[in-house]
Each structure stands twice: as C-alpha cells, then as structure tokens.
C-alpha cells in the first residue's frame, strides 16, 4: 500500500476559474511572443523540429536561440503527460502516487542548504537571583557534510509526516568533488531512508552512475521503471524565460531515461518577474509549460511534475522573501494552474526568512505550510528544517515542523458528521441536559483512544516555562537513536564495486565481519 498523504476534500482556491483561464491565455501569448531564449542548442533543435519558430539570437562562444512555441504544441504536450505520477521507494509502503486532478498532499523535505545549524544548550543564571537557572539553546552554523546528510535522512525516515526526502544539506567535505558529489549524496540519502529520494544533479556525467545505483537497489532497469525510487529536480528555466544550457542538458537526459522529473521555475516577483500577481503568474506558468513541453517532445509520457517555486522580492535588499504572504499566494495560484492542466504539482511552503528557530520562524513557516496545504498540491516541498530562505538547515527545526504538520494533517481529517453521528448526539444531549451537572465529560471516553481527539502539542512545557526547544531536542536525539533500515550488505557491496567515487566511510558494513 502506498503512503496515504492527506486528501484535501475542499481545496482552498484563491483565483476564480475565469482568472485561471486569463493566466493560461496570457502564458500562451508569452510563449509565442516574446517566446523563450534558449542557451541550450539541443532544446532549440528539438523545438524547431517539432514546429516551433526558432531563430538564432547570437552565435559564437555563448550562442542562443529565440524559441516561439505555438499554443497547439504546448497543449499537445500537456495532453501527453502522465496525469498520475508514481514516485517509488525502497520500502514499498512509502511509494507516493500523485494524481493531477486529486488534491492529495504529500509532504517532502528539502532543499539543499550550504549551512548546517548545530544546537546545544547553555545554562544561564539570573543575576538578581543566582538560584534561578535557565537553559537556552545556542545555534552554531557550519558547512554541511555527508555525515550530516546521513543524519538528516535518518531523522526524516522517522518523522511521521515526512512522505519523501529531498536532500537537505549540500555535502562539502574535503573529499567531495564535482565528480563524486552526486553518487555520494544519492547514496547517503538512499541508505538512510526508505522513503522516496529526489535530488538535483551536480554533474550530468554522474547521471548514469546514479541511475545504475538505483537499479542495483531495486533489482534492475525494469524494476526501476516500475518503482522509481529516485527522481530529479531541474531548474532548466532561468527567469525570465530562458533555457539554461547545462541544466537543460540534464533535464533532457533525465527525460530520455524516463525517470520522474520536476520542471522547476523560481521567478522572483519584482526582479526576475513582474511584481504584480497577474504578471508573475502568467510568466511562471509559461516557463513551467515550456519545460513540460520540452519533456514530452524529448520522450512522450515522461512523468513530470509542474514545479513552482515563486517568491516575492524583499523591498530592503531585493533578496528573496519566502516569508512574505504574497509568496504563499503565488504558490496557491500555481497549485490551481497545475490542477487546471491535471498535472501533479510540486509546490513550496515553509521556507522562511528567519535565520534561527524561534518565533519568526514558527509563525512564517506555519502560516505558509497551512495555507498552501489547504490549496491541495500533490508534492509539497515544505522545507522541513530550512531557515534563512534556503541557506540553513537545522535538524531541530525539522522535528518542530513535523509536530505542526501533524496538526495540519489532523485539521484535514474528514468531518465525522452523518445520520448515525447526529442520532447518537441527540440521544447524548437529551441525556446530559437531564442530569444535574450537565457535563458531557463521560462521553469523551469512547472517542478518547480512537484517534478522534487530537494529541496535545508534543513539546508543551510545564507551568509557565517554555521548554519547546529542549523537548524537541530530546525528541531529535530519540529519533537519531532509532535504527535505520540500511540497504542490505550484498547490494551495498555491489554498489561499492560498481559505482565509482563513493566514499568508503559511507559503507556501513565496512569493518564488520
């Protein structure tokens, strides 16, 4: 049985059907005029041979082409996409099945941050009352390593609400190079979680090694097709409206192999996209559709996700403001656009502007996690543990995030209101109002242990103290102490024999007899 996710029965819709149509038509216009600039020759050729109007913009060292994509080509590509995308997993119970017209949400981690935030607790004494001590968390940033990635995947394996795993930290060990980064980050992830693993690719040259690794794990090419335990995310479009040379190469090659892939676009309203909602929406929709069209022209039926990572610019620095309310609005709009095309959506929430866990971080992420979930994206990249936009990862924050996703999932449980419940309730009300104390407490009991009552916040402090961080830290360490189902020793041995560049220290069986 695949993972259930959470079905949003009545998704929140921000824009009307008419506005969806308006954005769609504006995007179609954009794709034909002004069209996209491609810095990737293959993409230009593929579009040209399929009837798009392609002209050379510049030649020489940095050649580029203008691609004007006719509406019928886009619509035909949208038509040929799989409306159901399956993301496999080492543990078959962790498989994710996403249907473009079903607002069933799966919560996935990510993205890749450069900085890992360690936590420890210091004890402070009150000056005016030395007997009073408090423990305060301190956060220490450092460069992420492959050991951190293993730790993060390990904890996310045990976090109840995490449905799939995008690597949370960029591995920057001294012995990690551009040539071995991909195999090591995929292996570290796959070996520490049995959930689906998605990642970007650093080097196209490593694609076949990564795919082969996955084949070894599941037992072969056909088995990987049936159970794609890995998938890829590619930012082939640079806003505004440009196909990037190298990531488009990667995208094309992933499509040729028929593995699931996210077409991701991340325009920033105000700088690389218009500041108004109508503008960024028309543009991001055009950019994603261009990528989706390319995927289907390369390999019809490539399982593809409509990837949207829109963001508004900060007015003080013109950097990203993922914590802005507009960012959530754009994401909700994108969910609606993807649903309009019946293509499963990769959406974003929980990315916040705060640099350490705290009140700003909690408020920012919970707000966007809640509202974007309510709109019903299928693949919600919800930034477990991410801070400072996508620069910092903190495992403690990921544990805190899991607690509020449990609340969100509970909120979305279907309402238990029906003839049977109403009939029982009427009996109960008549019975209770006839008693002297008129209390319903006795009737709590039958439902108390059935899962119908939401659990208390797991990190609630005693009395007036706020022990959230300390309790979450305890929970984090409990999760780290839990065992992980690693890839078996025989397969691990095959992987280390066949896949070049893997760090020997990642072999958990090495040194064991």
């Amino acid at each position: 049985m695949p993972r259930e996710g959470i079905l949003v029965r009545t998704p929140y819709e921000r824009i009307t059907d008419e506005q969806v149509q308006q954005i769609h038509h504006a995007s179609m216009e954009i794709l034909s005029d002004p069209g996209l600039i491609s810095f990737n020759k293959d993409a230009a050729e593929i579009f040209r041979s399929n009837g798009a109007d392609v002209t050379t913009v510049s030649s020489g060292d940095n050649p580029s082409w203008l691609i004007r994509i006719p509406e019928e080509l886009v619509l035909s590509a949208v038509d040929s996409t799989n409306k159901t995308v399956k993301l496999g997993a080492r543990n078959l119970e962790n498989i994710l099945v996403m249907k473009g017209d079903e607002p069933r949400v799966f919560f996935i981690t990510g993205s890749e941050t450069n900085t890992w935030l360690d936590v420890d607790f210091q004890t402070y004494v009150r000056k005016s009352e030395p007997a009073t001590e408090i423990r305060v968390p301190e956060f220490h940033p450092r460069r992420g390593t492959v050991a951190d990635l293993c730790k993060s995947a390990h904890v996310c394996e045990h976090l109840q609400t995490v449905d799939g795993y995008i690597r949370t930290v960029n591995i920057q060990d001294k012995d990690i190079t551009e040539d071995n980064k991909d195999v090591n980050k995929f292996f570290a992830s796959l070996n520490n979680t049995t959930k689906h693993v998605m990642s970007g690719l650093t080097s196209l040259h490593q694609l076949d090694n990564v795919v082969r690794m996955a084949e070894l794990i599941v037992g072969g090419k056909e088995q990987l097709k049936e159970n794609p335990i890995i998938s890829f995310i590619t930012c082939l479009v640079k806003s505004p409206l440009q196909f990037v040379e190298d990531t488009t190469d990667t995208f094309i090659e992933v499509c040729r192999r028929g593995l699931p892939v996210v077409v991701s676009s991340s325009p920033q309203a105000g700088t690389s996209a218009p500041i108004r909602e109508s503008g960024i929406m028309a543009q991001i929709n055009a950019e994603v559709l261009a990528g989706i069209t390319l995927s289907q022209l390369v390999n019809k039926g490539t399982p593809v996700l409509y990837g949207s990572v829109p963001v508004r610019a900060r007015m003080d620095t013109l950097g990203d403001s993922y914590g802005s309310v507009e960012t959530s609005q754009y994401n909700i709009d994108c969910v609606q656009m993807a649903r309009f095309y019946k293509i499963p959506n990769y959406s974003t929430s929980g990315v916040c502007d705060a640099k350490i866990p705290g009140q700003q971080s909690s408020i920012g992420r919970l707000f966007s996690d809640l509202v974007v979930t309510l709109s019903g994206p299928q693949f919600l990249h919800c930034a477990y543990g991410l801070l400072d936009c996508n620069a910092i990862f903190c495992l403690l924050q990921a544990v805190l995030d899991d607690a509020h996703f449990q609340m969100i999932k509970f909120l979305l449980k279907p309402a238990l209101i029906g003839e049977k419940e109403i009939s029982e309730t009427l009996t109960q009300i008549r019975e209770v109002v006839a008693t002297p104390q008129k209390m319903y407490i006795r009737h709590i009991r039958p439902v108390m242990r059935s899962g119908e009552i939401s659990p208390p916040y797991p990190f609630e402090g005693d009395l007036a103290s706020d022990n959230v961080f300390a309790l979450a830290y305890e929970r984090m360490n409990e999760l780290l102490a839990k065992p992980v189902e690693h890839i078996d020793s025989i397969t691990t041995s095959k992987i280390f024999q066949e896949i070049p560049g893997l760090l020997p220290r990642l072999n958990v069986y090495e040194g064991r007899s």
Partner: protein, 230 residues
C-alpha cells in the same frame, strides 16, 4: 459469590460504568450491569456495605488513580470512575445509618453570585464524591445569604467556592465575611478555586485553602480533613 460481585464493582469503577447502558473501554460491555446495578445486587445479597465500599469502590478508585499516575488514564477516565462511585454512594448512604460507618465528611460547594461558570465546580464536586465525601452542590450564581443559610442548616465541615470572573471573585470575600458575621466561620473551613484566583488571593480573603485544579482541590480537602481542621 460476594468476592465475585465486589470484583465486578471494582472493574466497573475502573471502566467508569454507572449503569448497564454505559459503554466501557472493552467491546460488548453495554448491557451488562454497571456499578449501580451491581451495588443494588450486592445489597440484596446482604453483602456488608463496608465491604462494598472498601473492596469494590475504593479499591477500584485506587487502581484508577494508579492508571492516571502512569498516564494510562486521563481526567475524563477519573471523572467517569468518580461519578460511578458517587452514584454508588447515593445508593449506599441509607444503608450506612446505624452501621457505624461514616462518610468521610460533608462538603457544600457553590459558584458565587453573578457567576454562571460552573464546570470547574462540577468537576471538583464529582471528584470529591468519588473520594467518599458527601457533597451538596448548591449550583451557580448563588446569593451569599443562601450559602450562609446552607452552612447553618447542613453544618458541613467544608465549604468550596468557585468563580471564573474577575468581577465575581470578590463575592468569595463577601461569603467569608458573611460567615464571620453569622458566627459560623469557625465551624467550617473554606476553600476556593477558579481561573482568576490564586493562593495569595485565598490568603488575602481569609480562606483556608486554594485548589489550583480539580485534583489539587481534592488533595487540599484531604489535607484539611487529615489535619482535623475540617
């Protein structure tokens, strides 16, 4: 035979089942006799009321308390069990006269004038009854004079007052002053409870105790009775 029925009483206290219509935790309990039916059956069988209390009701409540401490049971479980014990005590009370068995004590509870919020007072009332006290609940929005009259007539060892509103908590002080004026203050201990009140407030108005929550209130009452001051 007697042992069997006492065991059943104990088990049904743990399940919080007052009558045969109540569900327990376990499937299929509805329809089987609850605590009230079992106590009546025990009386028909001439089982000593003292044994019904100590080997059935009190033993059951002890186990419920242990389960609560172990976080296996929650407050609704405690209240259900306490309600079952309270209902059983109502049946047993007429049979205790002349047996030499006394109730643990008599308590009057009331929510003071101007305040309709009585959930807390009701919970305390249930828990006290479950703990073996005779509790007379005057209700909510009760005039000071009515409370004083009840104390004069019923002669309880303890009076419990509750208020939820800042605007009504001052009426607790009025009740204590009125008890003083009526010459009854040294005959009854007064404890107070409710969201806006505190230990300090209790002291400031001359109350004998403060219950922070239902369970704490029972502990405060127990300590006042144990100390012989109530």
């Amino acid at each position: 035979m007697a042992e069997d029925i006492l065991k059943l009483i104990q088990e049904n206290v743990i399940q919080g089942r007052i009558t045969k219509d109540d569900e327990g935790f376990e499937e299929g309990m509805a329809g089987q006799p609850g605590v009230t039916e079992l106590v009546e059956a025990a009386l028909v069988q001439k089982i000593d009321p003292q044994d019904i209390i100590s080997k059935g009701l009190t033993k059951g409540m002890e186990i419920v308390g242990q389960k609560f401490e172990a976080k296996e049971y929650f407050i609704p479980d405690m209240l259900a069990a306490a309600q079952a014990v309270g209902a059983a005590m109502d049946i047993l009370e007429p049979h205790l006269a002349g047996t030499g068995i006394k109730a643990k004590g008599k308590i009057i509870v009331a929510t003071v004038k101007g305040d309709l919020h009585d959930i807390g007072k009701n919970i305390v009332s249930i828990l006290l009854r479950g703990a073996g006290y005779t509790v007379k609940d005057l209700g909510n929005d009760i005039d000071t004079s009515t409370i004083v009259e009840a104390v004069r007539e019923e002669q309880p060892q303890l009076l419990g007052l509750s208020a939820l509103l800042i605007s009504t908590m001052a009426n607790m002080a009025d009740v204590i002053q009125a008890l003083n004026d009526a010459g009854l203050r040294d005959k009854v201990k007064v404890i107070i409870g409710g969201a806006p009140v505190s230990e300090d407030f209790a002291k400031s108005i001359g109350a004998d105790g403060y219950g922070a929550d239902g369970f704490n209130a029972v502990r405060v009452v127990e300590s006042l009775f144990d100390a012989g001051s109530a």
